[in-house]
C-alpha cells in the first residue's frame, strides 16, 4: 500500500530519465536543468514555510551565498568546483543554524524580519561589487561579486568537473542527468526528514507551538534542524547553478524571484514536498515562455497567485488529494466493471 503514494513521482522520474533521449533541443534541456534547480530551492523553502511555519524571506540570499561563494572560491582561488560547491553549502548550513537561533530570543516575527533584512543586505552587497577581486583580477578592475553584471560575466565560473565528466552549460545532457539525480536524492532526504519524528514535532510546532512545548518538544532543536537543512539545499542549488551556468547575476536572487518562489510553493501546495516540485515544472516553464515580456510575466504570476490564495489555497497538491478522494474509487470501479462486462 505504501508504494501507491509514490506512483506519480516514480512515473515522473521515469519520464524525466528518458526525455533527453527523445528531445535533443539544448534549450529545452537547459530549461529542465533550471526547473530541477528551482524545484530544489522551492522544496527546501517548503521545509521552513510549509512544515515549520516560518517565513524565511532570505532563502534566495542563501541561494546567492552558495552561488557566489562557491563561484568566487573556484574562479578566483582556484578551488576545484565540487569542493567549492560543498564548502558553499556548508556555509549556508551554518548560517541557517545561526538564523534559527534568532527565534530563541525574539520569536517567529523577528525571524521573518531578520531574514528580510538579511536578504536586502546581501542583495545590496552583491550589487555593489563587494570590493575588488583578489589578486590579479582585482588589479584588472574586476570586483569580487561582479556587481550588477554578475559573477562570471567577463570570465566564466569554472564548470563542474567530476572525473571525466564535465558538467556545464556546454554539455547539456550530463548537466541534465546530474541535476536530476541531485534533485531526486535531495527530495528523498527531505521526504524522510518530514516523515520522521522530526516531521511530527515540526508540524506540531507549526500548528500549536504552545501545545507542542507543553508536550515536551524543544522548539529550538527542530527549528534549527529544519532551517539549517533548508538553507543547506538552497546553498547547494546555488553552487550548482553557478558552476553549470557559468554566470551568477543578482537578478536571480532578487525580490521578483522571491515572489515567484513563494508563488510556486503556494500554488503547488504548502507542506507537501511534491506539490512545489510539480508546480515549479509548470511555473518555471511559464516564466521562461513569458521571459521576454517582463510586465506580462509579473501580472500573470501575480494573478495565478491571487487565484490560488483566494479560491484554492491548498494548491495543486490539495486538488490532487481532493480528486483522489472523490473520484479515484469511482474510476477504479468503472474500470473494474468495464473489464468484467
Amino acid at each position: 500500500m505504501k508504494f501507491s503514494k509514490f506512483v506519480i513521482p516514480f512515473i515522473a522520474v521515469g519520464i524525466f530519465l528518458i526525455i533527453p533521449l527523445i528531445l535533443s533541443s539544448p534549450f529545452i534541456l537547459q530549461l529542465f536543468v533550471l526547473i530541477f534547480l528551482y524545484a530544489l530551492v522551492c522544496e527546501s523553502w517548503d521545509l521552513s514555510m510549509g512544515y515549520l511555519g516560518l517565513f524565511n524571506f532570505g532563502h534566495l540570499a542563501f541561494l546567492g551565498i552558495g552561488a557566489y561563494f562557491s563561484g568566487i572560491l573556484s574562479l578566483y582561488y582556484g578551488l576545484p568546483s565540487w569542493i567549492a560547491i560543498v564548502v558553499g553549502s556548508l556555509i549556508t548550513f551554518a548560517l541557517g543554524f545561526v538564523l534559527s537561533l534568532s527565534t530563541l530570543r525574539a520569536g517567529e516575527y523577528a525571524f521573518s524580519i531578520i531574514s528580510f533584512a538579511f536578504q536586502n543586505m546581501f542583495l545590496y552587497w552583491v550589487r555593489s561589487g563587494g570590493g575588488p577581486a583578489p589578486g590579479e583580477w582585482g588589479k584588472k578592475g574586476l570586483t569580487l561579486t561582479g556587481g550588477t553584471q554578475g559573477l562570471g560575466a567577463l570570465i566564466p565560473v569554472p564548470s563542474l568537473q567530476l572525473g571525466p565528466i564535465t558538467i556545464s552549460s556546454e554539455f547539456k545532457v550530463p548537466a541534465y542527468y546530474f541535476t536530476l539525480i541531485i534533485l531526486v536524492i535531495a527530495t528523498y532526504a527531505m521526504y524522510k526528514l518530514t516523515n520522521s519524528r522530526f516531521g511530527i514535532a515540526t508540524i506540531a510546532l507549526r500548528d500549536s507551538k504552545e501545545y507542542a512545548i507543553a508536550l515536551g518538544v524543544n522548539p529550538l532543536t527542530y527549528t534549527a534542524v529544519f532551517i539549517s537543512i533548508s538553507t543547506f539545499f538552497a546553498g547547494l542549488a546555488g553552487g550548482l547553478y553557478a558552476h553549470i551556468m557559468g554566470v551568477v547575476s543578482p537578478e536571480i536572487i532578487g525580490w521578483s524571484n522571491v515572489i515567484i518562489m513563494c508563488c510556486i510553493v503556494e500554488f503547488g501546495g504548502l507542506g507537501t514536498l511534491f506539490g512545489p516540485a510539480a508546480a515549479s515544472f509548470l511555473l518555471v516553464s511559464l516564466t521562461q515562455y513569458l521571459a521576454g515580456l517582463a510586465a506580462y510575466k509579473n501580472i500573470v504570476i501575480a494573478l495565478i497567485m491571487l487565484f490560488t490564495l483566494l479560491v484554492w489555497p491548498t494548491g495543486m497538491a490539495g486538488a490532487a488529494f481532493w480528486f483522489k478522494s472523490k473520484y479515484l474509487e469511482k474510476i477504479k470501479k468503472a474500470i473494474f466493471n468495464w473489464k468484467h462486462s
Binding site: 520522521s196 519524528r197 511530527i200 514535532a201 508540524i203 506540531a204 507549526r206 500548528d207 500549536s208 504552545e210 501545545y211 507542542a212 512545548i213 507543553a214 508536550l215 515536551g216 518538544v217 524543544n218 522548539p219 507542506g271
Partner: protein, 262 residues
Amino acid sequence: METLLECKEVSKYFGDFVALDKVSFSLPEGITFGIAGPNGAGKTTLFNVITCNPYPPSSGKVIFNGKEIQKLKPYEIVHKGIVRTFQIPVRFRGLTFIKSVMVGSVYGNLANLKQNIFNYNRDKFEKNALEALELVGLVNKKDEFTVHASLYDLKLLMIASAIATKPKLLLLDEPVSGLTDHEIKLMWDLILKIHKELDITIIIIEHILKFLMNVSDEVMILNSGQVICKGRPEEVAKNPEAIKCYLGEESKEIFKSEMDKV
C-alpha cells in the same frame, strides 16, 4: 505520603494587575486535588506558572520532588514529569490522532527521547501512544486527522497525549467544561481510572462543583489570585468565605442548607 509539589508564595503580575497573590499549598503524592473559584480567579494562571508555559511566576517558588522548577524551560518541566491539558482544546491540525499522541510519547518522556537518538524505536512509541489511546477509548479513530474532531474527542485526545508522556503529575484544566451530562459521567470514570491504574497525582480545575467535590480528595478555592480556603471537600463546601466568593453574601445561608442536604 511524600510531598510531590509545593508552591511557596507564588505570585504573578501583569504590569499592575495581580493575577496570583502569594499562593501557597502543598500537594501530597497520589491524591486528586481540586481547584475551584470564580472566573478570573487565577486558576489557569496558576497552571501556567507551574509549568512555565507560557510564562514563569513573577516571584515565589515551585518545588517539585524536592527541586525548584520555576526557572526551568517549559519543555524541561515536562521532562521532569509534570504535564497539563488546556481549557480550550488545542489540536495539531496537520496530524492524525495517533501522531498527536506520539508527540507526547516521543518528546514528553526524557528517557524515551534520549534513548532513541541513535536507535529510533518507532514501534515502541507507537505502542505507548496506542496504550494511551486505548485508555481514553479513542483507538478506533487513531488514523483520523484531528481537524474534524468533536469537542469531547479533543478533550480525550489531550488527556491521552498527556498520559503518553508518562507523567508523575497531571494538571487538568476544566476537563468537563462544555460537555453533556453523559460525557461528564464518562470523564469522571476516566479520571478515576487514571488515578487508580496509572498512579498519577492529579490536579483538576473545574467549575462544576458537584463533579469537583466528588472526584477530589482535597480542594482549594481561589479568588482574585488569593487562596480563600483549602481542605477536604466537605469542609470547604461549608466554608462561608468559599460560598461568599461564588454567590455573594446573601446567598450564604441558602447555599449552606443545600450543601447540607447533599
